[in-house]
């Protein structure tokens, strides 16, 4: 690729059959108590 550089190694749609354990942190328990930010949480199931 000359014109495009992809920043991720994985897609949200990869390995969907083994995802969805629900063990990751609840977003409001981190630093935000007034806004919902889920995309910066970490997966606990890797």
């Amino acid at each position: 690729m000359v014109h495009i550089k992809t920043l991720n190694q994985t897609k949200l749609t990869d390995n969907m059959n083994v995802k969805g354990c629900g063990e990751c942190q609840t977003s409001c328990q981190s630093a935000c108590k007034t806004s919902c930010t889920v995309g910066n949480q970490k997966c606990e199931n890797k």
């Binding site: 992809t6 920043l7 991720n8 949200l12 969907m16 889920v38 910066n40 970490k42 997966c43």
Partner: protein, 444 residues
Amino acid sequence: MIHLFKMNDMYFAVDTNSGLVHVVDEIIYDLLNDDSFKCDHKVKELENKHGRDIVSEAISEINYLIVNNMLYTEETNAVNKIKPAIKAMCLNMTHDCNLRCEYCFASQGSYKGEREILSYETGKKAFDFLVNNSGLRRNLEVDFFGGEPLMNFETIKKLVDYGRSLEEKHNKHFRFTITTNGVLLDDEKIDYINENMDNVVLSIDGRKSTNDRMRKTINEKGSYETIVKNFQNFVSKRMDKDYFARGTFTAYNLDFSEDVKHIRDLGFDKISVEPVVASPEEKYALKEEHLEILKEEYEKLTELYLESNKEENKKFNFFHFNIELDGGPCIYKRSIGCGAGTEYVAITPNGDIYPCHQFVGQDEFVIGNVDEGICNEEITDKFKNVSVNEKPVCKDCWAKYYCSGGCHANAYNFNKDFNIPYSVGCELEKKRIECSIYIKGKLS
């Protein structure tokens, strides 16, 4: 669905459904803009601008991404795989506070009710409720909240011991956090917190003038001098454990990047400064008319972040610029959002259970109590049925898998409908995501 944006000298294409983020050049940006690559006369125009061979090469790269499900990816309906189980609890240790912050959503700690303290017995029942409703989830989170939780410090210590005593028997692991205004933070409490709390949120708004305008003592004096000293003492002993110096910005400090900078200069390297949530009639409320200024401010903050990160002693982490492009939550989690009322609850000193801390004090949102458990499933069902792919505004939004539909309480408070998100919050969230992606691109 894709989202194209340009920030400073960089161009990006975000593929919503795969979550892939592509740094592209101007030619790709032009070709993707309005789907120009599909339209012969637009391609011709771009060939005249960039050259025929280069445009042809760029179109090949676009087609490669499409064929490999990396661009214009189809929607995946990923709702409802996560089985509902309550695994996070905001435990209101007091409905009382030793500050009188003007913007406090908890009505200066009382949540519009009596000033109360959580007893050890009620706290134990809250822990039992959490364990008994957590199903197979192992990681359980308890945030000691308030009011000001350090006003009930001895009970916190007893409840942490109680929580630990439940772990082995029930195969659970507790993660404790605390949110404090810092007024009562002395050496004894600091040592205890550093030993027992996985994360700590330290409330400070930034510059003295910003902080003291909103965060006042009971005698209406500023809290800045007291809390800065205490927080600096705290952080000097925190070592590498997590914490956030967390502030709120309002219409009074639209230049909030200066407050972030100030917090950094005080020696705090993990910072979160968030927009206030307030009714539009409040003088300090953020409104549509502030959006352009605030977006520019996030860009200033982005530059500050990148500049600061070049120097070891100025480096800082800004909560809303953290973004997990790999290793973040799965698409199931991203579809259901914050989990209020389904995996997250708030429990008050009298034992009432609410879907989250933002609903505390609104009687119609009591979903149960620690003696009887969840009693009002009419309310919890409403939360179970909220997902980004069902909210009309969210389902066609490029940012839906980053914010996961936003804060339900904000949606309800502004629109009286969980399905209509708070629009000012959406715009700011989208800007923050763009800034976060730009930072990733710059540092890649």
